[in-house]
């Protein structure tokens, strides 16, 4: 890990000190910042951002939890403490546009911060990447490592049902000529990974089966060698599911950003 080259990541406070205001803020999220697996997704996405020469920045240590898990677990006080404090930071830097690789951060920033006075143009990284492909700013076909490969896409609830984003991640996979196969339940009927609604932070209630095991079974039934996801929680749950079923050597869980970065040989 330590030998990986240091990425060149512009930080908001430093840019502001130089009187620069970037076009877009990359909201990394807690999982993208601390979770070892999802840090790789963050780095993959940064590499894409660096490649396209877009003016962006991150908040660095000034970023804090959006408050989503607190709100879904019922603690509205804590949610609003986080939200109002975050809005103060975002507004101090005069942020207009935010991209994030976490559907939970995305949903909260986009749909819930406006009630508390935070109004931003918020975009999820899957939609952002699809737009880059559409605009010809990145050409995923060049790499070709996913050509013909059987890939299934797992819908994040907070992206899909919550915000009606079903097509962007699929279009990206189709762009690279991957063989996209659907699970038994997909799009608006996609089965949850089990982590939403703050379940990520506690044991499941007593039951017959873990939700992530059920979803992993559906994913494995497609025969795909890659399960594509676009959410840090889904990635954790599905990776655990694959491990439980001892399929790590055959099936990988990859984020859309990692797949794009790989096809660009980044």
């Amino acid at each position: 890990m330590d030998e990986a080259p240091k990425l060149n990541v512009p930080v908001m406070a430093e840019l502001t000190a130089k009187n620069e205001s970037p076009e877009i803020l990359f909201w990394v999220g807690c999982a993208g910042s601390y979770d070892e697996r999802y840090q790789k997704v963050t780095r993959a996405f940064i590499k894409i951002l660096n490649k396209i020469n877009i003016s962006y920045a991150v908040l660095g240590t000034e970023e804090t939890c959006t408050g989503d898990p607190a709100r879904r677990a019922g603690n509205e006080f804590l949610f609003q403490m986080q939200a109002i404090a975050n809005i103060q930071v975002l507004d101090r830097y005069n942020i207009k546009k935010i991209v994030t690789a976490c559907p939970h951060c995305f949903n909260t920033l986009k749909n819930e911060y406006p009630d508390l006075g935070g109004n931003y143009d918020v975009i999820h990284h899957s939609v952002f990447l699809q737009q880059l492909i559409d605009e010809g700013k990145i050409k995923v076909k060049e790499g070709g490592s996913f050509k013909g490969k059987k890939i299934t896409y797992h819908d994040s609830c907070f992206l899909g049902r919550a915000n009606d984003i079903y097509e962007a991640p699929r279009k990206i996979l189709e762009e690279m000529d991957a063989h996209l196969v659907e699970m038994k339940n997909f799009k608006s009927r996609g089965l949850c990974c089990g982590a939403g609604g703050a379940q990520m932070f506690k044991e499941a209630e007593p039951g017959a089966e873990e939700i992530y095991d059920k979803r992993t079974t559906e994913a494995l039934a497609t025969g795909a060698s890659v399960i594509a996801s676009a959410c840090p929680f889904c990635m954790t749950m599905l990776s655990d599911g694959i491990k439980n079923k001892e399929k790590e050597s055959e099936v990988e869980v990859k984020d859309i950003a990692e797949i794009v970065a790989e096809s660009l040989n980044l």
Partner: protein, 438 residues
């Protein structure tokens, strides 16, 4: 004697109308036990939602077999009720098939359409009975589908079957009487579906036929009026409630949770952001945070409960329920209605109402159910009439977290982590940007 039947009919019709009016008034006042909520905005969006989802049954078509069967019953219900208009006029005026002379040959077309629909409803209801009781489709046999919900469902189907059989028998005997030239039985032309029943009645004497025809007529109209009253006690109320419920549905993206203004004021005071406005005034009566009982819900949540027909599509799609957890979104809706009716009935008798020592949380819905929800919105997406069980679940979690501090221990740790480290995990905030160097 000539007017006796008309008088009896008038009395029955008036009684049914009076009981219905009383029932509707009670249901309305029960819904208004809920908190205020403004849903008067965006009328064109709301109209579209009602037309597509309720009138156009759009969400039913995710599952094609029940969708088509349901469509027959639904169209049958709407169209056959046009015939009830003729029944009522005939009943009050002492006439027989009053529309026939005016509509001429079109009356025959109309009657044949009614008969086609009556036969379709009949077949659909028989299939539905089989699905429920013989094939035992999973969503109809889950734990909350106990005595009354199961009986209610079967009673509805059997009543509809009997009502349709009455229409077809009435038309069959009427046709036999017409061919015998009995006075008063005006020629309707051939009625295709009831003709199939004619051999059953063909050999009977005219007196018997008139008796059966009249019996079927009275059975059908009293049956319809009785059914109208019955559904106000039943899950079948969706046939009316689906329309207002889709009109008043939440138009925001499903992922959005309602903000709590009462909390915003306090948070702004704590962060030192508030103006004098908030602190100078005596605070308004701060209600409870979140939902403990039905009066903490909004009237729309309560309307949702009256709209639920217990079809169980929500529960069938719920990931928690599918993996054996106690949560069932349908049960949440049934519990809300049961508690609301308990309180409403008590208040109607000047009883204790909400102060009966019981509450929705605890006596009806347990924490274990609420804690199992992943807020995935599968239940909301699944509902053909735009009911939102998730909002109720999350509002009850708010009560547990903020009024009782009764969240699961691991969530309390997560809260602490956010408070102290600004992340749900316990990492040092200064390490947040370390991913850059890794």
């Amino acid at each position: 004697m000539a007017y006796l039947q008309q008088i009896i009919f008038f009395v029955i019709l008036s009684a049914a109308g009076y009981i219905l009016w009383k029932r509707v008034t009670l249901i309305r006042s029960n819904i208004l036990l809920g908190k205020d909520l403004d849903r008067t905005d965006n009328r064109s969006e709301r109209l579209k939602s009602m037309l597509l989802v309720a009138f156009g049954q759009r969400k039913m078509f995710k599952n094609i077999t029940p969708a088509i069967l349901h469509l027959f019953v639904y169209v049958g219900f709407i169209v056959i009720n046009l015939e009830v208009l003729e029944f009522i006029i005939d009943g009050l005026a002492g006439t027989h098939r009053i529309f026939a002379p005016y509509l001429g040959s079109f009356y025959n077309v109309l009657m044949n359409i009614f008969e086609f629909l009556a036969a379709s409803v009949l077949i659909a209801c028989i299939v539905f009975l089989f699905r429920r009781n013989v094939f035992k489709v999973k969503r109809f046999t889950q734990p909350e589908m106990t005595s009354w919900p199961l009986l209610d469902a079967n009673l509805i189907l059997i009543t509809e079957i009997l009502l349709m059989l009455a229409i077809l028998s009435m038309n069959a005997t009427d046709q036999v009487l017409q061919t015998r030239g009995i006075n008063g039985y005006i020629f309707t032309g051939q009625l295709v579906f009831s003709s199939l029943l004619v051999p059953l009645f063909d050999g009977l004497p005219a007196g018997w036929l008139v008796f059966i025809e009249r019996f079927a007529w009275w059975f059908h109209i009293i049956g319809i009026l009785g059914f109208a009253v019955y559904i106000t006690y039943s899950k079948h109320l969706h046939i009316f409630m689906a329309f207002p419920n889709t009109w008043y549905s939440d138009l925001a993206p499903m992922g959005k949770m309602e903000s709590m203004d009462s909390v915003t004021n306090e948070v702004k005071i704590m962060l030192g952001l508030t103006t004098d406005e908030g602190s100078a005034q005596a605070p308004e009566e701060i209600g409870r945070f979140g939902v403990k009982d039905i009066n903490d819900l909004t009237w729309k949540n309560l309307m949702d409960a009256y709209t639920c027909t217990e079809c169980g599509r929500c529960t069938a799609e719920c990931p928690a329920n599918q993996t054996g957890k106690k949560l069932s979104p349908r049960k949440i809706m049934m519990d809300v209605r049961d508690r609301m009716e308990e309180v409403g009935n008590s208040l109607a008798k000047n009883g204790k109402g909400l102060d009966d020592g019981k509450s929705l949380l605890g006596d009806y819905i347990t924490k274990e159910e609420l804690n199992a929800c992943t807020s995935c919105n599968a239940c909301v997406e699944a509902c053909p009439v735009l009911i939102d069980p998730l909002q109720i679940i999350l509002e009850m979690r708010r009560y547990i977290a903020m009024e009782e501090s009764g969240s699961p221990a691991q969530w309390n740790i997560m809260f602490q982590n956010i408070e102290t480290s600004f992340s749900p995990w316990k990492f040092a905030p200064t390490d947040r940007f370390n991913w850059e160097k890794k």
